[in-house]
Amino acid sequence: MTNAPGPQITDLGELLAYAHAIEVDAMERYQLLADQMETHNNRELAKLFRELAGHEEKHAAKILEQAGESGLPVIEESAFHWLGTESPEAADLDAAHYRMTPWHALQMALGAEQRAFAFFDHLVNTVSEPEVKKWAEEFRDEEAEHVELVERLLKLHPEPAEGWDLDDDPPYLQD
């Protein structure tokens, strides 16, 4: 697996571009998962993933607002450096299953929020420019709130019993 060297962020514009990319990637990933669930007729999960995508879209819009009139600097997708192999808040596609339950979706969301928290925490501990550090702290604190929110939601959705994924006639392509 690819081991990334991690980001080297030196100015506020770059930090906002990273934060925006994180939210957009997260939104697109939840939209993809919602599409998958719609295709496989898991409507409850499709709705949940759409809601999660909606939250990420709002976060991305807020960052654009924060960037103000100057906008965000343009950074090539391949030039972003993450701590892992991809944008931290993008939900783990590997974990998807057509019979998954809200508990599974929230576990995915929890992992995503925790990775985003770790990313900004890493920045707080590594950047030297005071303004960048201050904003990184703000983003980190927001991610901590999201982690808490998902943990609260998880209390409402217990883990399903073993066998939740059993299907005597598994589907293949859904035409």
Binding site: M1, E28, H40, E76, E77, S78, T85, E86, P171, L173
Partner: protein
Amino acid sequence: MNAPALPKASDYKSELKPVWCPGCGDYHVLLSLTKAFAALKLRPEEIAVVSGIGCSSRIPAYTNCYGFHGVHGRALPLGTGLKVARPELTVLVTGGDGDGFSIGGNHFLHACRRNIDITYVVMDNRVYGMTKGQPSPTTEPDWDSALSPGGTGVRPFHPLVIALASGANFVARTFSGDIKGTTDTIVQAINHPGFSFVEILSPCVTFRPDQRGWKSVVHPAPVEPTDDAARAARRIMTDDGFNVGVLYRGSREPYMVERAKETGEPAQFDGMFEI
């Protein structure tokens, strides 16, 4: 003032939504392909994605590049013909292990030999997923399933070694879940002249749920790529099957598409074949 927008992976996606099973590795491959196109700053109309038949062979429809969803096992001849006729296009041939190594196995050998400047991406899940789980050429001999009780007992096909022995000019293995690694490898494969072969371990979570475990066993190849095909083959034959990265970069001259085109009109061939 903002700089002009750079291409993004989403710029290469079509309106069609993939119908693969949630958790399928092919979603990652689609992401990696489109990220590679963005990294190369190619325009969609400069790319052709050609495939055969199978779950993974649906991938051309999910891009907005030129696409050809061909017949079973014949993606490589289609891609070869397209590249000869339109050498300015970046041609990617895509598909699965059954399509590429069984039905299209013979074409695989000769595409490697011919060394036309195309990239062949195989999403290897070691099973025929579209037809509900029959063993494929790369399936382990002891894989026990309802359709192959006790396993097939047949030695698996080794595509990377076959590619090397047949003359492929670039050989790599990646894991679909490593999106960055797969993207970088596809970029290198496209940039390398001649026939580039990328085997992507892409789990079928429906018929091979055991493959969800691949994530924890893949690891970077511990050595740098070599330009010695024999050395690369020995490494690949003796590794654990989960080394990922570029394994071989050859220096064979690609098939001379331009020279072939210079031959001109069919009538000009008459003189060349006079007895």
